[in-house]
Symmetry: C2
Subunit: 211 residues, 2 copies
DNA sequence: TTGTTTTCATACTAACCAGTCTAGCACTTG
DNA sequence: CAAGTGCTAGACTGGTTAGTATGAAAACAA
């Protein structure tokens, strides 16, 4: 998987890498809080680093931004979703997937990243495409593969069902956390999880009998 | 329902209202295309109006932006979703709801508005709350009421099921159009609609028998 | 016509920002 | 110690922006 960022690497020394890390951490806080319109001065200040140092590690603002998103996608990719949950039976599997997805609601970084990628998807289509290619598509693929392989369930279109499950979970995060819907229309996430599990299991079994 | 915008109204004459309309139309094109960071000069130019005229109709940039979003929410609220579809039977009703929701994928203004509201939900939480209160909550409410009233289906938690349906539809729009997923992971919307209808009907009937 | 209101074009302000430059400081390595 | 390398603080350039000011041209009303 190729990376997008084209930052220069002026040093392979441990000191250089350390500064680079500080810059990325500062950029993370500032970009996630203020969006792409955050100023490079603010990022340098937050990182506790001179502005020139930022520009000696990253070509320009766009490169820094891309490198950061790239890094964050990697970070959230590895978090959660081990292989062993594929061994679970259908109810446990779906519940586990839902729990992992919704647990990200508590993660300010994840919620902010999602908002940022959607908000900047007009200006930076590459980034949202990267998000889709690295996070959404593989996730849905694994889910669909499980549904296809499991003989407790039998859907005529497992790919579409995978998207329904995934979509209802992601949209729960968006509407509750990003759009601040948890005040106007609150719903405990366990209720949501239970209904998704029920819906899929009932439908999967009924669909099996009908075929 | 109270409005958010606090623009001044310097004239109640027809000429004034006409200018105000031109300004809002220009602001619509520019804000939806470039986001909130669009410049007031660009908006005035697009509206074919002097910059000063913009400021004589709207207090500042924030007021103009709020007034525009307010207006757009009203516009999309009235479009589609008549009362008579409530008379349809379950399969037709769910299909119709799904078709109406997904038909908005073709509407550049709707897609851009959704991106804008999500993207600016950090800077302008009032706007996303307004969106939730005026569009999402009533929509889900109607859907849940239908599910509750219909005796072909029987869900233990109709509100949660309504959110699942709504979420999978909205997220389909987001992932396909906003995040440009239609290239990397295309799916015909009819396939999505069919699966949602099947899922809900199978589960609704199975759930009924189980109770 | 005369007076009032609105719009127009333009210029201006004060602030902000991306990116560059300079000159000196600090650390590391030979 | 000496040379090299990365870091720092700050100033600077050229450009953009929100919002204001001005003075004249229209549009309208009496």
């Amino acid at each position: 998987m190729k990376t997008i960022s084209d930052e220069q690497k002026p040093s392979l020394s441990p000191r250089g890498a350390e500064k680079r890390e500080k810059i990325l951490e500062g950029a993370l806080r500032v970009f996630l809080a203020q969006g792409y319109s955050a100023s490079m001065d603010a990022i340098a200040a937050e990182a506790g680093v001179a502005k020139q140092t930022v520009y000696s590690h990253f070509k320009d603002k766009h490169s820094l931004f891309s490198a950061l998103i790239d890094r964050l996608l990697d970070h959230f990719l590895t978090a959660g979703m081990t292989q062993e949950i594929l061994l679970l039976d259908a109810p446990s599997f779906i519940r586990k997937v839902a729990q992992i997805s919704l647990s990200r609601m508590d993660d300010w970084e994840y919620v902010s990243l999602l908002r940022l990628i959607i908000g900047e998807s007009g200006r930076f289509p590459e980034l949202s495409e990267l998000y889709v290619a690295r996070m959404v598509k593989p996730g849905i693929q694994k889910l669909a593969d499980y549904l296809r392989a499991n003989d407790q369930l039998r859907f005529s279109d497992p790919d579409a069902v995978a998207r329904i499950i995934h979509g209802s979970l992601i949209n729960f995060v968006i509407s509750q956390e990003i759009m601040h819907g948890k005040h106007a229309m609150p719903m405990p996430r366990e209720r949501m999880i239970n209904s998704i599990v029920d819906l899929v299991l009932f439908a999967g079994e009924a669909s099996k009998q009908a075929s």
